[in-house]
Structure formats: structure tokens, C-alpha cells
Amino acid sequence: MLGFTALDLARIQFGFTVSFHIIFPALSIGLASYLAVLELCWLRTKREVYRDLYHFWLKIFAVNFGIGVVSGIVLAYQFGTNWSFFSQFAGGITGPLLTYEVLTAFFLEAGFLGVMLFGWNRVGPALHCFASVMVAIGTLISTTWILASNSFMQTPQGYAIENGVLVPADWLEVIFNPSFPYRLLHMSVGAFLATAMVVAAVGAWHLLRKNDTPAVRTMFSMAMWMLLVTAPLQALLGDAHGINTLEHQPAKIAGVEGHWQNQGDEPLPLIVFAIPDMENETNHFQIAIPRMGSWILTHTWGGQIKGLKDFPKEDRPNATIIFFTFRAMVGLGMAMIALALWAAWQRRRHAMYSSPWLLRVTTVMGPAGLIAILAGWYTTEIGRQPWVVYGLLRTKDAVSAHAVGTLALSLGLFILVYAFVFGVAITYIFRLMRSGPARFDPGHAATGGPGQAHTPSRPLSAAPDQISTNGSAQ
């Protein structure tokens, strides 16, 4: 169909469903921690802005969490439906890690999430705050399991191969594999950064609309501080992660850099722009800065790395794609650092809340962190190709034997249903964001839990039932 093979379609389907999914958990991770911080601030200072902001973002968190759960069901089944040989080969290791992730999420939903969403008037302030902190920790534990599983597929260790399948030899080695710490930190900080960007954008939008309340100012200010810390930190972590990848997956780095081969002892240039051509093993339209590549990759002025030509053709990742996804991620990262510095400068000038251009750019950049996360995942996952478990199982040997027509049908249905269902959900989240933080009225706190209309596992029901089109919550 349109020249796609069954393998292509299976990969597109997995990429599509997982890309849709990742946005929601990434925001959930960041918002959960933000909510915990807001509630701690409220308990310490008793300033009402913190309480009002808590309840504003709690509703958005609830909807977001609910969509994350719904879009997550598909993923629990796709390894089996579409990647049966991967499941048979690696199930003994990735299966338990994913099960622990589900158990963690389930545990959270059954207990602390309910208290957090519905318990404002039912439990004491300290216990409520404890629940918020536990939910924040829980989302990070979930992240840890997923990243352990993913990192194992990138840099496997602690396994044996018996009867043609992976057998765990040492669980600690499996979990704490070489790329795990870098990947976990890079993803967690990425989630915080992306969330800070979203919060900042919502604040900036309200300030632009002259909805200049203390709560809006506080969230804008907090988000900009967070951005100032996490954006540069993320760059440092990304650099460390890159060095780690160079050690364990040199072909990925060669692809990301569009580096085909070393020229004698010449230091590596930094290729700013090029179109890598996998067929002809060359770059078109290359623009490069001499020596910078060596410095960035090896932190010396003359260092060299392996080029793509050092790897057999069938072991190379598609440099045409990851060259650009990597630059999209780094470019957005740099833009966020610049924005954070600009805001800090405007803060010193006491103009942060009133500079129209700063507010406009911040609003437009709202999704920048989320897009950077997607670009980063594309880089690392496509860069792992042609392997699904690096060095052990090729993607083409992992896929279930479905016909092209079957896969085209399922992919088409996924696109249709996701466009409709998640389109509505995202519209709803936007409506909530537009309504803005209001003065919290304890009499109208969401009620729920056993015996109530709203129960813990229905996070969506913590959000107000109707929001009128002019933006105010009813």
C-alpha cells in the first residue's frame, strides 16, 4: 500500500500510538511534582494564590491523567499484537518491568490519586499534601520502570540467552544497565521542562489578555524560575547522555552527526545543516563549523569518532531522519534556554509581566518542550535501528506476520479514532486552561471516594462537568 511494507506500517502504527500517548504522561509527571510543590507552598505560607493555583492545575492534571490511562491500554497490547517475536524473545525481561509499571500506576490510582483529587474536604491538610507528594513520587517510579525497560533494549546487560530467548541473569544489572541513569534523568528533567513551558505559556496568555491576577503572575514567575534551572540542566544531561551513547551505540551518534568517515587525522567539523543520503553515503548541502564536532563529541579539539562507513550497511540507522530530529530537539532546547535568560533579564528590569514580546513568544513556545521530547524519542528510537534489542534482535525479525491490508486497516482506524477522541480531550484541556485560576471555594471542592458519585479511578471527574464557551468553569 503506497509502497509501504508490513514492517513499515507496523512501525508507523507503534510510533503513532506511542507518540500520542507520551505527551500525556510527560505532562502528568511534571504537573504532579508542580502540584506537590504548590501544596507545600500553601501549607508553609498560607498564601491563597498557591491554593488557587493548586486547584486550577489539579483539574488539568486530572483530565490529562485520564487520557494517559485511556491511551495507555493500547500499548499494553501492541507488543503482542504487532511485535510477537520481540515479545517471545524479550518477554522474560521487558514483561516483568512493564508489569511493575502497571502495578505502580494501579496502586496510585486506587489510593493516593483519589485522596488528591477528591479529598480536600475529607482529610486533613497534612494528609492531603502527603497524597500529592506520593502521587508525584509514584509518577516518577512509573517513569523509572518504563525507562529501565527501554534502556535495556538500548544497552542490554544482565541477561543470558537460553533456547533462543532472553533470560534474566541478574535483575539489578538488567535494570541498572549502562544508559539507564542518563536516560531516566534526561526524560524526567525533560518532563519538568516541558511542563514548565506549558505553565509559562498559560500564564503568558492570561497576562497578554490583561488577566493580570496575583495567581497568574505567580504561576508565570514559578514557571520561568523552573525554566531557568531545567533548560540549562537538560543541556548538560543531554551532553552526558550523548557521550554515553557514543560509547555504547556509536552508529547512532555517527547518524545523528551525519558523519560518514574520518579524513585522516583531521578534527571533526560540526555539521549544522546537511541532507544525509543513505544510498550514496554522502551529505548534500552541507554547512559545517570546523573542529566544533570534535569538541562537542569528545570534549577535545582533535578527537574522532567512528563514521557511518565503519558499520556494515545493514547495521546503520537512518541518518536522514535522526539528523533532523536531533537538531529539532537541540534547537528547541537552545530556544528554551534563551527564553529563560530573556525572562530573567526582564525580571531584573521589573518588566517580566508586561513585556508583550516576551509574553507572545512564551505563548507560542508552549508546546516546545513536548515537541522536543517527541523529537528526542524519535532520535533515540530510530537511532537504535535496525535493532529492536540492540545487537541482539533486529526489528525486521521482531514483527508479527500480518498482511499489509490488515495493518493498513488498523492504522487507519487508530488515526481516525485518536483524531476524534483526543481532539475532543485536548480541546477540553484548552478550555480549562482558558478559564484561568479562580478563587478557590472550599464548598465546591470535588467530592468523591467510596460511596460518592466520583471515585478515585475516574480522574476526569475531578474536572468540572461543564465549561461554557466563554471560558469560565460552571
Partner: protein, 340 residues
């Protein structure tokens, strides 16, 4: 160590799937009964009866999938590939249903009909294809061995046969009966009366479905016939059909009573549990019927053991919490309080 981890995991997954049926069956049923109740306020009541208890169902489904992946990766790979299309249809139906459930309350008045339709369509699709998947699974999955391990040997539409389709309809009837008896338990007045008159034909249809499956499976598969009709196993399994008869009698009697309460609902659940157990007896100890046993599909003991530790700690807490939730909820009913 003489612990049979595979058997423990088979039981955990058996319970997990039944938990899903208990948690989600009646609200899928309510979705299917929606077309017969056009009044908006009655529809609100119907949905409000499940609002407090339908929670967690999708997470049970995710947990079921993940546990199968961890404990029996070979079965996970083969069964899910074989049932590709019905499972995808089911998942999409569930996504629709779950979102519709929530957004129906959030929708503006003129948008509500969209979510009613999504709720009906999602419930119908999910229930039918759960039954089709179950039927195709019980019917047997063609497997061929390859150098990379056993692989599904059939086509994409192998499930499109009379037996799976019949099971799909059977599960729709079963869930509708659950939804119907749940509403008898939870509502009063006109709506309850209508459900009372709907329950009896649904119950008879379910009995027909159970009889059809009970005759069909042993005829189609001599192993299943041998399991049920040779001594000494027969002695162990005789209670199952006897209990089914008892269940049907209890159900019909409770429907005829003056003030039916939870009786019809519990009797329906009991019937469905017996049918489910009967299928498990027919299949045991295979996990990819009719060829691959739970031991042949098992992941290494180090994987099953590692996962079991966390499951044994967390699952009882979740189960306890769910029971507590139902318990408090039931107490409220006795006080005659509504939920909204």
C-alpha cells in the same frame, strides 16, 4: 522448590480477567441497553448507577495484558497476533466508551447526543469483540513452529466463523443481562419495571448460549469431551452443570419476587462465573489451545518469580480497596441515598 509458578500465574490471570468482567461487564451492558431507553433523565440515572463503581476496569485490562506478557510471553505473542483485528476493534471500542462516559457529563446540551452514540457504539463493539476473541481463543489457534519459535499459522480473518460470532453474541447477551439486573438492583419506578420485563428474555437467551457452547465445544474437540466425560474427572466437574441449573432457577425466581434487589444481579454474576470456569476447565492446562501448555509458554522462573513478589504485595491492597469501596457504596444504598 516445588512451587509451580506457572500454575500460580495462570490462576492470577484467570482471576484478573474475571475481575475485569465483574467490573466492566455491567457497564458495557448498560451501554447496550441505552438504545432502549430514549429518555435523557433515565439515561442520566442509568449512567449514575455505574459512575461510582466502574472505576479501575481499564487498568485491570492493562494489568491482564502486562501480566500475560511477563508470565507467558509466548502465549501473549501468539494469541494477541492471532486475534489481531478483534482485539484492535475491542480496544478502539473501549477508548470510545471510556471517553464518552466522562465527556457525556461535560458536554454542552446540544453535544450530548454525540456522546450517547459513542457510548452505545463503543459498548457494543467492545462487548461483541471480547466475545469473538474469547470464542476464537477457545476454538483453538493454529500454530506452526519456526526457527524463531512457535508462530501463529492462521490468517487475519480466522476468527470470522460461526463459533466465535456466536460467542460474541453470547457475551453481548451476558453483559446486557448484567447491566439489566444491575439496574433492577439500583433503580426504581418506571425504569426498574422496564428492566424487569427485559431481564427474563435476556436470561433465557443466556441459558441458550451456555447450552450451545456446552454442546459445541465437546463435539468440536475430542480433548474437551474427554476432559468432561471420562472418570474420574467427571466426578469433579459434575457440580458445574448442576450449579448452572441452580443458578438459572435462582435467577428466574428472584426476578419473579415482589421486591427484587441484588438477587438477580448476583445470580447473573454466578452464572457467568460458572460459564467462565467451565471454559477454563475445558482448556486447562493449555494457554494457547489446543497445543501450547502454560509450562511451554512460561517465561523463565527468574521472571515469573520477580514479578510475583510485587504482584502478591500490591494486588491484595488493590482488591481490599475495591472491596472497601463496594462495601461503603452498598451501605449507602441501604440508607436510600442517591449519588447525585
Amino acid at each position: 522448590m516445588g512451587i509451580d509458578l506457572s500454575a500460580i500465574w495462570a490462576v492470577i490471570i484467570f482471576i484478573g480477567v474475571f475481575m475485569y468482567v465483574v467490573m466492566d461487564g455491567f457497564d458495557l451492558g448498560i451501554g447496550m441497553l441505552y438504545p432502549f431507553v430514549p429518555d435523557r433523565h433515565e439515561r442520566d440515572v442509568m449512567m449514575n448507577t455505574v459512575a461510582p463503581v466502574w472505576d479501575g476496569n481499564e487498568t485491570w485490562l492493562v494489568l491482564g495484558g502486562a501480566a500475560l506478557f511477563a508470565a507467558f510471553p509466548r502465549a501473549y505473542a501468539i494469541v494477541l497476533s492471532a486475534l489481531y483485528l478483534p482485539l484492535i476493534f475491542m480496544l478502539l471500542g473501549l477508548i470510545f466508551r471510556g471517553i464518552a462516559f466522562e465527556f457525556r457529563f461535560k458536554a454542552l446540551d446540544h453535544e450530548r447526543h454525540i456522546w450517547d452514540k459513542a457510548f452505545i457504539g463503543g459498548s457494543l463493539t467492545a462487548a461483541f469483540f471480547q466475545g469473538v476473541s474469547l470464542g476464537a481463543y477457545v476454538h483453538g489457534i493454529a500454530v506452526v513452529s519456526t526457527p524463531a519459535g512457535p508462530q501463529y499459522a492462521g490468517g487475519a480473518l480466522d476468527w470470522l466463523q460461526p463459533f466465535p460470532i456466536m460467542c460474541g453474541l453470547g457475551v453481548m447477551v451476558a453483559y446486557s443481562l448484567l447491566g439489566c439486573t444491575w439496574l433492577i438492583f439500583r433503580t426504581e419506578g418506571e425504569l426498574q419495571k422496564r428492566m424487569l420485563s427485559t431481564a427474563r428474555p435476556l436470561a433465557l437467551l443466556l441459558v441458550l448460549a451456555i447450552i450451545a457452547v456446552s454442546i459445541w465445544t465437546p463435539l468440536a474437540d475430542p480433548d474437551v469431551a474427554a476432559r468432561w466425560f471420562t472418570m474420574p474427572g467427571m466426578l469433579w466437574f459434575v457440580p458445574v452443570p448442576v450449579l448452572v441449573v441452580v443458578g438459572v432457577v435462582l435467577l428466574l425466581r428472584s426476578l419473579a419476587g415482589d421486591a427484587p434487589l441484588h438477587g438477580p444481579f448476583l445470580a447473573s454474576l454466578g452464572l457467568i462465573f460458572l460459564g467462565y470456569t467451565g471454559l477454563a476447565i475445558s482448556i486447562w492446562p493449555n494457554i494457547v489451545p489446543p497445543t501450547i501448555s502454560i509450562w511451554a509458554a512460561a517465561s523463565p522462573p527468574a521472571s515469573q518469580g520477580f514479578t510475583l513478589v510485587g504482584t502478591l504485595v500490591i494486588l491484595p491492597i488493590i482488591l481490599g480497596y475495591s472491596c472497601f469501596s463496594y462495601y461503603v457504596f452498598r451501605g449507602k444504598v441501604k440508607l436510600g441515598e442517591g449519588y447525585h
